[in-house]
């Protein structure tokens, strides 16, 4: 069942990517909103389907393993993709910007593609038992700590996509793209969702570390990388709220901050440390 959900979501996200390219070309060539509307509706259907498939994957894996599926890079890649699609749909409900939600799904596609790579190279075997080492046997903290991270990173991914779209219009606004002011506002909204969640991730991690390792903070590379990411988003909020930064500078800051997110996410591959149990 997991395999059906996994490959199904990969297929759905792949189709969203193709639809997005077609939608992009349609908008760019000004072929009219009717063709765009059909593509937009189809993409929405595929986004909902991919969200359902990813949710099904998480639920079936949870049931099969008996614990929150947040203990390996494969599982976290799935959760991260789920966060992007779920929040992408919520932001669509608020802003109705299909280009942003659709392009965010490309980040989710990359994550599920990464999951497929882990599967293909044998680094991850979904049928193998998912044994929890003693340090991870804390069901509540395991689920909340990692689920908050997935949602937080999901929000940041959408902010990253909106910022890229904003920057692509920094010299001249493109009529077929979302208005720069709207993108700027959407980016800010992703941070006010993602930043408290990232703070919660760090706090829950500290509480867990206190119970598991006897220290709420150990300067472990992964937790330090999360703190650095937090610093970037804190700087974004400070510059925005106190200094009135908007537009290009804020957008660049969000792009850099999301690179820090990616660095933190893949950190297990080049960090040694207390989070090393998460590699696969």
């Amino acid at each position: 069942m997991q395999a059906i959900f996994f490959w199904g979501s990969l297929l759905a996200l792949g189709l969203i990517f193709l639809l997005l390219v077609a939608y992009f070309l349609t908008l760019r060539s000004n072929k009219g909103m009717e063709a765009g509307a059909t593509l937009r509706q189809t993409m929405m259907g595929m986004l909902v389907l991919s969200f359902v498939l990813l949710s099904g994957l998480i639920i079936t894996r949870w049931v099969d393993t008996g614990h929150g599926p947040f203990t390996s890079m494969w599982e976290f890649a799935v959760a991260f993709a789920w966060g992007i699609i779920g929040l992408g749909l919520l932001y669509w409900m608020r802003y109705r910007l299909m280009l942003v939600t659709g392009a965010s799904a490309v980040v989710a596609l990359a994550l599920i593609g990464f999951g497929a790579y882990l599967f293909a190279t044998g680094e991850f075997d979904p049928s193998a038992p998912s044994d929890l080492v003693p340090a991870l046997q804390q069901s509540f903290l395991l689920s909340t700590h990692v689920a908050a991270a997935a949602l937080s990173y999901g929000a940041f991914a959408i902010g990253f996509v909106a910022s890229i779209m904003f920057l692509s219009q920094r010299k001249q606004a493109k009529p077929w793209m979302p208005a720069p002011e709207t993108l700027d506002r959407l980016s800010y909204h992703t941070v006010i969702v993602g930043f408290p969640l990232l703070t919660l991730v760090i706090i829950l991690g500290a509480i867990w570390a206190e119970y598991s390792w006897g220290r709420y903070w150990s300067w472990d590379p992964k937790e330090t990388a999360a703190l650095v990411t937090w610093f970037f988003y804190a700087a974004y909020l400070h510059t925005r709220v106190l200094k009135g930064w908007q537009g290009v500078r804020s957008a660049w800051l969000l792009v850099i901050a999301f690179l820090a997110v990616i660095f933190t996410f893949f950190g297990n591959y080049f960090f040694e440390g207390l989070h090393a149990f998460e590699v696969v």
Binding site: L27, G36, R40, R96, L97, M98, L99, A128, P129, D131, V133, P134, A135, Q137, Q138, W176, M177, P178, A179, T182, R185, Y188, H189, I192, F195, P196, T199, L200, I203, A206, I207, W208, E210, Y211, S212, W213, G214, R215, Y216, W219, P221, T224, A225, L227, V228, F231, F232, A234, A235, H238, T239, R240, V241, L242, K243, G244, G267, F271, E272
Partner: protein
């Protein structure tokens, strides 16, 4: 003095400090960091630099070490930046106190009129009469749970609407929480108790020492594994004793420490131990009987072995007990223990001799019979008491509270004036805190509400595209 205060209350300075802290922290993530036990010993530091750092960083090792980048989080640069941030936060917080009190009370009418006179207030003309306009304004703010104060001056009616007046204190709570966090860290660092390696062998009792006056007795230790070989559980059944009386007992597992008073006892590591008896060969009098943890790992000729020590002072003997290396050992047979004898404690004592004794058998040396009865286990506990922990948790809770107040209950203040006009009424309105996204959105919503009342100018906002 004023220049110093100005410097530390500058947002630009605070941002630079945050940025530099992020860069320094990043270097601590990218570069290998010395474990604390290494950093505390200059000899180990040199060894670590040669064996760990130099192979990885080559010629840069000296420079990186000079800059303190192999122990970034204890380096002067990090401590100075951290201190500067705290000073900056404190100065900013103190400086903002009077203005926060004023803000949370709400803008007064004089300030409100001054703000409306400024060029950036939005002005609109509505076909509604002033009376109907007042009703529409009141309806807008009441529906959105604003506190509404109104004043009249001749024909002009002034509305001072505000909502979520506690929100500005959210920023204060966030900054205060950072100070509390540092305070908690310092209290824990300088007045807490920490022992990272408190080893007790099965069946043994060990005194924790001052200031607790209690002992830990390890009844049993079990390590369990999955079929794949991955560790499943480490559990130590312990008793805490005071003056020989059991005061607490239970299971200690990873994630589930035992707590007594403010002291927490964590399951940290484990290993082999050997239960051994030592008796005088002629009289049969027992000299020692107990378990010895083989906790000190060392490598020799490519074999990793573990050892423990037994100090037989009265017999002027110091004994190393060494277990065979896992996977076959050319020197120590399997199911045996090697005893190395010295004529005094290391490193002064001179080596005398060694014997390998199969477990369950015995051997004699210098009038003593050594009987390793069985291999058991030891548990390594981590003992911690952190009096600053309460402050740390309080600071984190305060931080989250601050974030929730700032982001999800943002302070909104809108000032509106309305007066009769030949066409109906004239409305001027402005929001405070225009850098705040929520204020901008609220202003837009109010603008739309004004437009809906039959506004003539400015134009109704256009429909956004859906791309």
């Amino acid at each position: 003095m004023n220049a110093v205060l100005r410097f530390f209350s500058s947002v630009r300075v605070a941002l630079w400090i945050i940025l530099l802290l992020a860069i320094v922290s990043l270097s601590g993530t990218l570069l290998r960091q010395m474990p604390p036990v290494v950093a505390a010993d200059p000899e180990l530091v040199q060894l670590w630099l040669e064996q760990v750092a130099r192979p990885a960083y080559g010629g840069l090792t000296g420079v990186l070490d000079f800059l303190g980048l192999f122990d970034v989080f204890h380096s002067p640069v990090f401590l100075v930046l951290g201190s500067l941030l705290i000073v900056s936060i404190t100065v900013c917080s103190l400086k903002r106190w009077p203005s926060l009190i004023k803000i949370s009370r709400g803008v007064d009418s004089e300030d409100a009129l001054r703000l409306l006179d400024k060029g950036h207030a939005t002005r609109a003309t509505s076909r509604l009469s002033a009376g109907d306009g007042v009703a529409a304004i009141e309806n807008f703010f009441t529906k959105r749970s604003y506190r509404l104060r109104h004043l009249s001056s001749g024909e002009v009616k002034l509305f001072l609407a505000d909502k979520n007046r506690l929100a500005p204190w959210g920023t204060y709570a966030i900054h205060l929480s950072l100070i509390l966090l540092i305070a908690g860290y310092l209290v824990g660092s300088y007045s807490g108790y920490s022992n990272d390696s408190f080893i007790v062998a099965e069946g043994e009792t060990r005194d924790i020492g001052a200031p607790y006056g209690i002992s830990v007795h390890l009844e049993s230790f079990e390590d369990e594994y999955y079929a794949t070989g991955a560790p499943k559980d480490y559990r130590a059944q312990v008793q805490l004793l005071s003056a020989g009386v059991v005061i607490k007992e239970g299971l200690i597992r990873v994630n589930y420490p035992m707590e007594y008073g403010g002291l927490r006892i964590y399951q940290s590591f484990f290993g082999s131990a050997v239960r051994i008896g030592v008796a005088n060969s002629s009289s049969g009098v027992e000299v020692f009987n107990g378990s010895i943890a083989l906790a000190d790992g060392f490598a020799a000729e490519g074999y990793q072995r573990f050892s423990g020590t037994l100090d037989l002072n009265a017999q002027n003997l110091f004994v190393y007990l060494i277990s065979p290396a896992a996977g076959g050992d050319p020197v120590i047979p399997a199911d045996s223990i090697r005893l190395e004898f010295y004529d005094g404690e290391q490193p002064e004592g001179q080596f005398i001799d060694f014997i390998n004794i199969p477990i369950g058998q015995h051997a004699e040396f210098q009038g003593l019979v050594f009987s390793p009865e069985e291999m058991t286990q030891f548990s390594g506990f981590q003992l911690r008491e952190d009096p600053g922990l309460g402050l740390v948790w309080a600071s984190l809770a305060l931080f989250m509270l601050g974030l929730v107040l700032v982001f999800y209950f943002p302070h909104r203040q809108i000032i509106v004036s309305i007066k009769p006009d030949t066409k109906g009424s004239r409305i001027s309105f402005t929001a405070l805190g225009k850098k705040n996204q929520s204020a901008i959105e609220e202003m837009e919503a109010f603008g739309r509400a004004v437009a809906a009342t039959g506004q003539i100018a400015p134009k109704t906002p256009g429909k956004e595209n859906m791309n």
